[in-house]
């Protein structure tokens, strides 16, 4: 059975639901000469380039809700007013973060007062001015930040994420 993992997914599922695992070894052996039909897959996920907002929509220190890389992955865009790690735009102060806490997936909320994201789940805190560094908390990673690009029209695109997002084993599903 183990050797069949390389079969295309549909075939594999049929195989697993089939008559018996005991036959797997024999089945695998007979399949060996067949060319591996696994298509080559790239080593990293292909991130979509998604327009999240236009610079003109951002007000200083006012978070704008977004989602990236898809609608099930909430995040936020913030214009912080000072150059920060990962910041884009003329002042290098526009940043984007996932707002799903990487500890247990609770939704983060933004504090304008100290430019942090906080988690009601178990009190985790992340610093938007330090690349999403976990100030304090239980997550074993810092907060996922977006790779942003701004085009000539001022449209802000997200084109990648720098940590695994909570609740998915592939950042792009």
């Amino acid at each position: 059975m183990k050797r069949c993992e390389r079969m295309v997914d549909a075939g594999r599922r049929r195989f697993l639901s089939g008559a018996g695992v005991a036959a797997a070894g024999a089945a695998a052996a007979t399949m060996l000469p067949a060319k591996a039909d696994a298509a080559p897959t790239p080593a990293r996920v292909n991130y979509p380039s998604n327009r999240l907002a236009n610079v003109s929509q951002l007000k200083l220190n006012e978070p704008v809700d977004v989602a990236y890389p898809d609608k099930d992955a909430p995040g936020v865009l913030i214009k912080l007013g000072a150059r920060v790690p990962g910041g884009v735009g003329p002042n290098g102060d526009i940043v984007g973060f996932s707002t799903v806490c990487p500890h247990k997936g609770f939704p983060l909320s933004y504090s304008k007062e100290d430019k942090t994201l906080s988690c009601p789940g178990h009190y985790g805190r992340y610093d938007c001015e330090k690349g999403g560094q976990q100030i304090w908390g239980h997550a074993t990673q810092n907060l996922a930040q977006y790779a942003l690009r701004i085009d000539a029209k001022g449209d802000i695109y997200a084109e990648g994420v720098d940590e695994l997002l909570y609740g998915r084993l592939s950042n792009v599903l």
């Binding site: 059975m1 183990k2 993992e5 997914d9 594999r12 599922r13 697993l16 639901s17 990293r44 996920v45 991130y47 099930d72 992955a73 790690p85 990962g86 799903v100 990487p102 500890h103 247990k104 997936g105 939704p107 909320s109 504090s111 100290d114 942090t116 906080s118 988690c119 009601p120 789940g121 178990h122 009190y123 985790g124 805190r125 610093d127 001015e129 330090k130 690349g131 999403g132 560094q133 976990q134 100030i135 304090w136 908390g137 239980h138 997550a139 074993t140 990673q141 810092n142 930040q145 720098d162 940590e163 695994l164 909570y166 609740g167 998915r168 084993l169 592939s170 950042n171 792009v172 599903l173």
Partner: protein, 843 residues
């Protein structure tokens, strides 16, 4: 830029992955985890049938899902010589943590050795010896032969008192019943070693003598009691950071009110409401902020007392509560020493006649009588806050029902001023209010490591036990065996100890460099000459090269939990088996087997020397596996141990059973939910003692003088992200990026006065020594009160802790005063750190 892994996806645990029970080997809580392993060339899929979770992983999973793991929970390791993939993730079905991981435990996978993924390559793979001027690898037989020969040579000249031993006494990794038994049988069975100490204190003694002397074992309740209590009294503890998932999974539900149904069910006819909490701590911690966010400020009472004055506060509580008549008279009559029977106070076990604190309730009350006003003056607290706390602890509820209070204490008390009396004063309160052995009660230490103690009697060590560090500094002893202890980081008076230790071990190193390695006799002779001149031969059994190991002549590589089968119990005495799911690195072995092979080697050398009677004492170490050590130790010697085997523990899974085991029925080990539920305590006749605990100021030598002389209190302790002294974390990128230096929290105005900015490196110095830390502004810190991370490799707080200990050789780390000056401005490593407040505020 802060550390990011740039992981965009992870291999999926296949449906047929092997599954192993794991208890987190870090803190006392002992959260349940599952380790999944599968071959390197296989993977699961997104379809529900092709992954272990039976879930469609092509969809975003909800909060608290069991079907997700972080990159830190994945690794590639060796299992029976093969490369396998490993995921270690929290177990939703474990009653301890219900699927919660912490910033320490959820890095277990990443903190294993992986050649492929470059993790923990600091781990020792082979015995190493001082050869030609540096540490060089050798095989077990060679290393053990040298250790056995030097050990017996020292004993032949100095007796067993010439062998100094530092050894763990706890559970979890670098501990556990197998390994405490292995080392214990060697040093307390085959030998009777007296000059012995534990990893975090300079003697072989209990951290909580007082409660034991009173007949109250220190881990007497269950985690559910924190859900049932009317009031939790948290003393010298910061459980959100140091007992994380116990706090999150059992205290918070009470404070939030979500355990009300449980209370109603447990206490029919009794008024119940969401829990309150009294927190006694000079510092405002993240625990306090979290409690306020959950319970509301009106149900959280933080008593930020003057450091080291806890004792007087407890005496005042006792007095007030007794005068109000809020004591549990029936309980006192039934379960404690009867009044009049102790007209004189009883000497504590092992104590002198002049030292007579154990007694009955009335005598203790008379000895401890303290007014609220007096306590307010000494503690610096408001009288009305002390009174309020006393009401929260003991004022009867509607219908005259007894209020249920749980008392949890930890290092603030244990490493605090006057340990013995302060511990006794807390237990006095719990006994007087009938809060031991009953639901919603308990008077418990909250714990650091897990427990896992199984050793022959230590009675020969005596009481007070030998102050080992002092003896080492005085030049005593010829050989030092160290088991998973790094005193360079985690002892008091560390500045001095390190200087002397280095000098003494260097003498031996220099002597060793004068002889060829292959001439064993000449080597041992040269070593012994150096020892006679005051040198010290040092053998370090550890998993990584430790700081004290830099001074050692032999390193013996040990295995950790998961690389061996390991049993321990947590803070509610819940015993589990962590199953071996991977190989130890290289030739590393479980400590119990290292002890056994060392015993075999000593026996062989003694026979060579014709000392057959002594050699016979080293028989009984023919264990092949850690299970052999378990059966020889726990199974045969511990209370209820005959009910416990590996096979049975495996069946009991991550919920295990609570010690002691009382039987085996229907395929299950029967355990004990709470101790003393029958009202009978651990004394000869089952009656608990009260204790006379009058206040006597700063008790340890040199503390009052230090306080007068230096400006800043250097309070100290742990932080969430680091486990213990960072022996693993020092090699973890995520942690070291966040914590390159130990922080020292300071009031911003104090920082301004010293010209300090966040992240600057400061020197903390007094007449005990000096150390360094990075300045961390803490607006909630009082003026002249700092808090420094304890036991960190890049700045050892113990350097500035003086040698003063209590009458039972318990160190007093917490009451330390020093001056502070700037060393350097923030570097690139500290500039990228966030120094914003760690406090959560509901927003």
């Amino acid at each position: 830029m802060t550390y990011k892994r740039q992981t965009d996806r992870l291999p999926i645990v296949p449906a047929d992955a092997k599954e192993h029970n794991v208890t987190c080997h870090y803190c006392i809580v002992g959260c349940g985890y599952k380790a999944y392993t599968w071959p390197i060339n296989k993977q699961g899929g997104y379809g529900a049938k092709s992954n272990k979770f039976g879930v469609d992983l092509s969809k975003q999973q909800e909060a608290e899902t069991a079907a997700w793991y972080a990159p830190s929970m994945y690794n590639i390791v060796k299992q029976n010589g093969q490369d396998v993939q490993l995921v270690i993730k929290p177990d939703v079905n474990c009653v301890v943590n219900s699927g919660l991981g912490s910033i320490r435990g959820a890095r277990m996978a990443e903190n294993h050795t992986s050649q492929q993924r470059n993790t923990q390559l600091q781990r020792l793979t082979d015995p190493m010896v001082w050869r030609y001027g540096s540490m060089q690898p050798t095989n077990w037989d060679d290393a053990l032969d040298l250790v056995a020969r030097v050990t017996t040579a020292v004993i032949n000249e100095q007796g067993e008192d010439g062998l100094f031993v530092s050894m763990f006494d706890h559970g979890g990794s670098a501990g556990g019943y197998e390994n405490t038994w292995g080392t214990g049988k060697l040093y307390f069975g085959a030998m009777k070693i007296k000059n012995v100490r534990i990893h975090n204190r300079p003697a072989y003694n209990s951290e909580v003598h007082a409660t034991r002397d009173m007949g109250v074992g220190e881990l007497n309740n269950c985690y559910e009691d924190a859900e049932l209590a009317d009031t939790i009294v948290a003393i010298g503890t910061n459980p959100l950071e140091t007992q994380t998932n116990y706090f999150l999974n059992h205290w918070i539900p009470n404070l939030r009110g979500t355990s009300l149904d449980k209370k109603k069910k447990e206490f029919p006819g009794e008024a119940v409401e969401p829990g309150r909490i009294v927190i006694i701590d000079p510092r405002r911690t993240v625990t306090i902020a979290a409690c306020e966010a959950e319970a509301g400020k009106d149900k959280v009472l933080h008593l930020a007392l003057e450091s080291g004055t806890d004792l007087v506060l407890f005496n005042a509580f006792l007095t007030y509560i007794a005068d109000k008549g809020w004591i549990d008279k029936a309980f006192i009559a039934a379960s404690t020493l009867p009044a009049g029977q102790a007209t004189a106070l009883l000497p504590r076990p092992g104590g002198t006649l002049a030292d007579q604190p154990l007694t009955d309730f009335a005598s203790a009350l008379a000895a401890n009588r303290t007014s609220i006003e007096h306590a307010a003056k000494i503690t610096g607290l408001k009288a009305e806050d002390i009174v309020k706390a006393a009401h929260w602890i003991a004022e009867p509820k509607a219908g005259g029902k007894r209020r249920r209070a749980m008392f949890g204490y930890e290092k603030g008390i244990i490493w605090g001023n006057d340990n013995y009396r302060t511990n006794g004063a807390i237990v006095n309160l719990a006994l007087a209010t009938g809060n031991v052995g009953r639901p919603g009660g308990g008077v418990v230490r909250l714990g650091g490591h897990q427990e896992g103690y199984s050793r022959p009697s230590d009675a020969h060590v005596g009481r007070p036990a030998a102050y080992v560090d002092k003896l080492l500094i005085e030049g005593r002893g010829g050989i030092h065996h160290i088991w998973a202890c790094d005193h360079y980081k985690t002892t008091l008076n560390a500045f001095k100890l390190k200087q002397i230790y280095k000098r003494r071990t260097d003498m031996v190193k220099d002597a060793m460099s004068t002889v060829p390695w292959g001439d064993r006799k000449a080597m041992v002779d040269a070593i012994m000459v150096a020892i006679r001149q005051g040198g010290l031969f040092s053998v370090d059994v550890d998993i990584v090269p430790s700081q004290i190991g830099q001074a050692s002549h032999v390193w013996l590589p040990a295995a950790i939990s998961g690389e061996m089968n390991l049993t321990s119990m947590n803070g509610e005495r819940r015993m589990r088996l962590t199953e071996r799911y991977m190989d130890p690195p290289g030739n590393a072995m479980p400590d119990c087997l290292i002890a056994a092979r060392l015993a075999n080697a000593v026996e062989r050398v003694l026979r060579e020397q014709g000392k057959s009677a002594y050699a016979d004492q080293f028989k009984g170490f023919d264990w092949k596996t850690e299970e052999d050590a378990f059966m020889d130790g726990y199974h045969k010697h511990e209370k209820g141990g005959t009910n416990v085997t590996y096979a049975r523990l495996k069946t009991m899974g991550n919920n295990g059973f609570q010690e002691p085991a009382t039987g085996f029925a229907n395929g299950r080990i029967v355990g004990t939910k709470r101790l003393y539920s029958d009202g009978k305590f651990s004394t000869k006749d089952g009656k608990a003692f009260f204790m006379a605990t009058p206040w006597r100021g700063l008790q340890a030598p040199g503390k009052a003088e230090q306080k007068a002389k230096y400006k800043f209190l250097v309070n100290n302790g742990r932080t969430n992200v680091i486990w213990q002294n960072a022996f693993m974390d020092q090699n973890n990128d995520f942690v070291m990026d966040r914590m390159p230096y130990p922080f020292i929290e300071m009031n911003p105005d104090d920082m301004k006065e010293l010209g300090l900015a966040a992240g600057d490196l400061v020197e903390v110095h007094n007449d005990a020594g000096s150390t360094q830390a990075m300045a961390q502004p803490a607006p909630s810190a009082k003026r002249n009160q700092t808090f420094m991370l304890f036991g960190f490799p890049t700045g050892v707080q113990g350097n500035v802790v003086n040698a003063g200990v209590n009458e039972l050789i318990i160190p007093n780390y917490k009451q330390t005063w020093a001056d502070i000056r700037k060393i350097a401005s923030a570097s690139e490593t500290t500039k990228r750190l966030s120094f914003k407040s760690a406090e959560y505020r509901a927003g």
